[in-house]
């Protein structure tokens, strides 16, 4: 049933190339992601978590190695091209939505993620009823604000919208970069529950960076730890279920 969806093979990524400040962020990183995996990603600051996401997303180009999607090397595809299969939610709620466009307009933009945009009328009206239903599932009043500019929403509403936008057109891979970290604890937990529901319901393949060890243990079927640009810990299924936060803490104490 499980087949590799995305494979990273010996990926090396350096910043400040050819300068005295050159640093290797990803150091021959290997990771195989199977279809349907919900992987939580842990690691201390500077371990390369966000860089891993940027390498997959195409924001940073890799120095060597391969990134294979269903066996095809996508390492040299542009950010725009990769959005055909990839959706992201950023940590900063401001990054995920267009502030002067309304909630409905933002959703409509996301509807065509990775597709050609032509000179056909956008057809917002045909989608409003669907968007109303969809935003109501967030239970945070977003459905009442479809015609509000997103700049006037609360951080929690904006982030919930970003998440909806990322999953509106089912992505083959969903990258969540600490998407609840900027929210207050309660709003953050609400969004986390919704995330879990949606990932399970749509059988999404998802990587989620988090600094909450509890979240990392509670959610997902697999947990990886990044350290010095490599995957140093990779646990899935029943082994992950059995993992406790004490074990995880002592593991972190060892590698630091």
């Amino acid at each position: 049933m499980t087949k590799p969806l995305l494979e990273l093979k010996d990926v090396v990524l350096k910043v400040n190339r050819n300068t005295p400040e050159e640093i290797t962020i990803l150091n021959k990183l290997n990771l195989t992601i199977n279809a349907g995996d919900f992987i939580t990603v842990l690691g201390s600051n500077g371990a390369g978590k966000s860089t891993l996401f940027n390498a997959i997303g195409g924001d940073l180009s890799i120095d060597s190695g391969q990134i294979l999607l269903n066996g095809h090397d996508i390492a040299h595809e542009s950010v725009e091209k990769r959005t055909r299969f990839l959706a992201r939610v950023f940590q900063d709620p401001k990054l995920g939505t267009a502030p002067r466009m309304t909630v409905a307009e933002n959703l409509l933009l996301a509807e065509r993620r990775g597709q050609r945009r032509g000179l056909m009328p956008r057809g917002l009206k045909h989608h409003l009823a669907h968007y109303k239903e969809l935003t109501a599932t967030m239970h945070n009043g977003l459905d009442q604000r479809l015609t509000t500019a997103t700049g006037n929403l609360s951080g929690g509403q904006r982030q919930a919208l970003s998440f909806l936008m990322a999953t509106l057109k089912r992505p083959e891979i969903l990258l969540l970069d600490e998407h609840t970290a900027a929210l207050d604890p309660r709003t953050g937990q609400d969004l986390m529950h919704l995330t879990n529901e949606r990932v399970a319901q749509d059988k999404l393949t998802c990587l989620m960076i988090t600094h909450h060890m509890e979240d990392a243990l509670t959610y997902g079927n697999r947990l990886i730890v990044l350290h010095h640009g490599q995957v140093t810990y990779d646990v899935a299924g029943a082994d992950k279920q059995a993992l406790t936060s004490e074990q995880l803490y002592s593991f972190f104490a060892e590698i630091e």
Binding site: T83, L108, L109, P121
Partner: protein
């Protein structure tokens, strides 16, 4: 009366510039200096082409194309060459000065005795100044309608998103570089088109006619916004034309007060600066608070 008609006609013709600049200044959210070069470029192109015997309508459309090419160069310098947009615009603007002199052959070329858009039978039969009003209305209705339609298309929405949040736009697969290049091309095409109209209306093209153009175009945008307050995007585009007409009336008033035409650039700059600082004044002076306190003490 005829002065008012003239102001409306001028406002309508110059409104093309406001709509053109709106695409970059308000939607892509940067100031494009290229327009100071593309306005006389459009004028020079149209005047030179008409002098060579080209049909005035074709010459005006040619001005659009040439202006769009200048915009393309700014766009490439900015997106592919990573030159800051302000400098990219200034580079192309500066280069345009030489190009304009090459096109015209000298600093000033008259259209005396030549055919122009204003010299067709219908427009020529109208009372004085009504020709620019009629032509201006036709042009603005067509251009504003096209821009409004475009902004409501899938591509247009991607264009708006690019100016609003580039990171998000890219994460949704919108090629933001292409959007910026497209915006700069259409914007400068429209500015050059406006230059062609104004040159035909004035009866000449001058190599220095681009000075202060960005201020005039911005004034139509800002005055429209200040005068009409909170509007939707489509309404704001229409407000640009109304703002452009209002601006002409302000200039008329200033001239009536005894200022000379040579003072107009100074006055335009002051008007624009004041309008742009209005939100600051409102905040600092806190009109409502002062008003309320005044009423309280009277009680």
């Amino acid at each position: 009366m005829s002065l008012a008609v003239s102001a409306i006609g001028q406002g309508l013709l110059w409104a093309v510039l406001g709509v053109g600049l709106f695409l970059t200044f308000r939607i892509l959210d940067f100031a494009d200096m290229t327009v100071e070069g593309t306005f006389p470029l459009g004028a020079a192109t149209a005047v030179a082409a008409i002098s060579q015997g080209m049909n005035p309508l074709l010459a005006t459309l040619l001005a659009f194309v040439i202006g769009a090419l200048a915009g393309l160069i700014t766009g490439l310098l900015y997106t592919k060459g990573h030159i800051p947009i302000l400098l990219a615009g200034i580079l192309v603007m500066t280069a345009c000065y030489s190009v304009n002199l090459r096109i015209m052959g000298r600093a000033n070329v008259s259209l005396l005795g030549k055919s122009t858009l204003f010299k067709n039978h219908f427009l020529a039969s109208l009372p004085q100044y009504f020709d620019s009003v009629v032509l201006g209305i036709v042009v603005m209705v067509v251009i504003t309608s096209i821009v409004i339609y475009f902004l409501q298309t899938e591509l247009g929405q991607g264009f708006i998103a690019t100016g609003d949040n580039q990171t998000m736009a890219r994460s949704l697969g919108i090629n933001t570089d292409n959007m910026k290049i497209m915006g700069l091309m259409v914007s400068n095409g429209l500015i050059a088109f406006g230059g062609a109209l104004v040159a035909q209306n004035n009866g000449y093209a001058d190599v220095n006619m681009g000075i202060g153009i960005i201020v005039i175009a911005l004034a139509s945008i800002i005055i429209g916004e200040v005068a009409f307050g909170d509007l939707t995007l489509n309404q704001r585009l229409v407000a640009v034309t109304l703002g452009s007409i209002l601006y002409r009336f302000v200039l008329l008033l200033v001239l009536k007060l005894g200022f000379s035409a040579n003072d107009l650039n100074l006055i335009s700059a002051i008007i624009l600066a004041l309008c742009m600082m209005l939100p600051v004044f409102k905040h600092v002076l806190n009109f409502k608070h002062i008003l309320k306190r005044g009423l309280d003490t009277n009680d």
